[in-house]
């Protein structure tokens, strides 16, 4: 019984300590912040693709709102979250970002510019009907894939 209490105490201590250790690595915070921004993009892009692919009904107001959310995201200055050394080699299992993002910089920024142009055009068109939405969301998807192909570890 005494040993069981010790084991429980030990386990509680470890469980409290582990997040604490993680939180002390500032790079993990950066990783989570940029992943959060990517997830927000996915949140907005997903239904737009769903409408374009016939998985959900086209809704002009919703399409316009989501596309403009993406446009608003473009104004966020989160360059600080893309810190050198926060790649998959340093943080396996935590990120899929390849080190070549930094070793080939500023190559990745070309994808960023293409993405921004595509999102701006999407925001203008998304509320103007399904036929207007389709090519624009397709163009956004293509810029996403281009960057992911190049700079994201495949599973």
């Amino acid at each position: 019984m005494k040993n069981l209490s010790k084991i429980c105490l030990l386990l509680i201590g470890v469980s409290l300590l582990t997040p604490g250790l993680a939180a002390k690595d500032p790079n993990l915070k950066l990783l989570k912040a940029r992943q959060g921004e990517m997830q927000l993009r996915a949140y907005n892009v997903g239904p737009l693709f769903g409408m374009a692919k016939g998985k959900m009904e086209y809704d002009a107001a919703l399409a316009s709102k989501l596309a403009n959310n993406l446009k608003t995201q473009l104004s966020l200055d989160i360059g600080g979250t893309w810190k050198q050394g926060t790649d998959v080699d340093a943080y396996p299992g935590k990120t899929t970002a390849l080190g070549k993002i930094w070793s080939t910089y500023p190559e990745i920024s070309n994808y960023g510019k293409k993405y921004a142009n595509a999102v701006n055009e999407l925001a203008d068109a998304a509320g103007n009907g399904l036929d207007a939405l389709k090519p624009k969301i397709s163009a956004v998807g293509k810029t996403c894939k281009g960057c992911h192909d190049e700079f994201r570890e495949q599973k």
């Binding site: 997903g46 693709f49 996403c144 894939k145 192909d149 495949q154």
Partner: protein, 314 residues
């Protein structure tokens, strides 16, 4: 609907009333009506068109990717002009509409079957393998006939073909002939007796119609498929895109369940909620027309592809 017997039968003009028309004119109109009504049947009899054949042809056209490759972004359907960037230069797809001179309107069904099966034009020129006859060779003759009938029922376009822009050593068709001699053998689809009908049905869709291997299998220096690495993914796919491993290994689609594959083949939605983009997007536009039975069969086949460990990376 580009063509249907129904639409032709609808053209039966009737102007004025019986009372308004003198008898000779009425007779003439009656004769004209009879002629117009008889035309679809006569045309069908002459060209062998029937609704089942056309429906099968439409299905083959959509699922086999013809529309995407043979239609430019700003162009008429099947009128060609789409650029395909490859390490060997830029190929421009030809006009395959029913136009007699600009397209394939003068081709017989056998001409089309020969092009698909042997990679040869009606004039005897060898095609470059940008036209995936390496897979289409497996398309059955009756499917080729259906495709021919359907294409010829569609509107014709006079859009002229554009010359390919290729590396100097590929400028002559002799290069295509040499390539075929080295790397191509025409073949017929042979069902595997060791597998059930569902698997074989999926194999036909993947190997012949869908020609999935053309993008998902890596190529050698000469642009030929590395058959020992079938479906293991390709870091240098069409337009320089990365094409994923779709074998049953975990670095492929080994961890996808049937439902996830259904969603992907219908909508292009990936298991993580993202959507496919780039060159695969128009492929989905085609294969989303698969019947539920064919989609199931394709899934069965894909899930049994021998696993190859390959994490595709540029």
């Amino acid at each position: 609907m580009p063509y249907s017997n129904q639409s032709l039968r609808q053209t039966s003009p009737t102007n004025g009333s019986r009372e308004d028309n003198p008898r000779p004119l009425r007779c003439l109109l009656t004769a004209l009506c009879a002629l117009v009504m008889a035309l679809p049947a006569a045309a069908a009899a002459q060209t062998g068109l029937d609704s089942d054949l056309l429906a099968r042809g439409e299905y083959i056209l959509k699922v086999s990717g013809c529309i995407h490759c043979h239609t430019a972004d700003d162009g008429e359907q099947l009128a060609g002009g789409r650029a395909l960037e490859t390490p060997f230069g830029t190929f421009y797809s030809p006009n395959i509409t029913a136009h007699k001179t600009a397209g394939i309107g003068a081709w017989s069904a056998e001409d089309l079957q020969r092009a698909l099966h042997q990679g040869v034009s009606p004039d005897g020129d060898d095609y470059y393998p940008a036209f995936p006859y390496t897979s289409y060779t497996l398309i059955r003759a009756d499917d080729a006939r259906a495709l021919h009938a359907y294409i010829l029922s569609l509107p014709a376009s006079d859009r002229p073909n554009r010359e390919h822009e290729l590396a100097w050593f590929l400028g002559s068709r002799i290069a295509a002939t040499a390539w075929k001699w080295l790397f191509f053998n025409p073949g017929d689809f042979q069902p595997s007796p060791a597998k059930d009908a569902q698997w074989n049905r999926g194999a036909y869709i993947a190997e012949a119609m869908g020609h999935c291997a053309e993008c998902h299998t890596p190529r050698n220096l000469f642009g030929a498929l590395q058959s020992d690495r079938a479906y293991a993914g390709n870091a240098e796919g069409p337009e320089g895109e990365l094409v994923p491993n779709i074998t049953s290994h975990d670095t492929g689609i080994g961890d996808w369940d049937r439902e996830e594959l259904q969603e992907f083949l219908k909508f292009g939605e990936l298991p993580d909620g993202e959507y496919t983009a780039g060159s695969m997007e128009p492929v989905i536009e085609g294969i989303r027309h698969l019947t539920p039975q064919d989609r199931d069969a394709l899934i069965t086949y894909l899930r049994e592809l021998p696993p190859i460990d390959n994490r595709v990376r540029k």
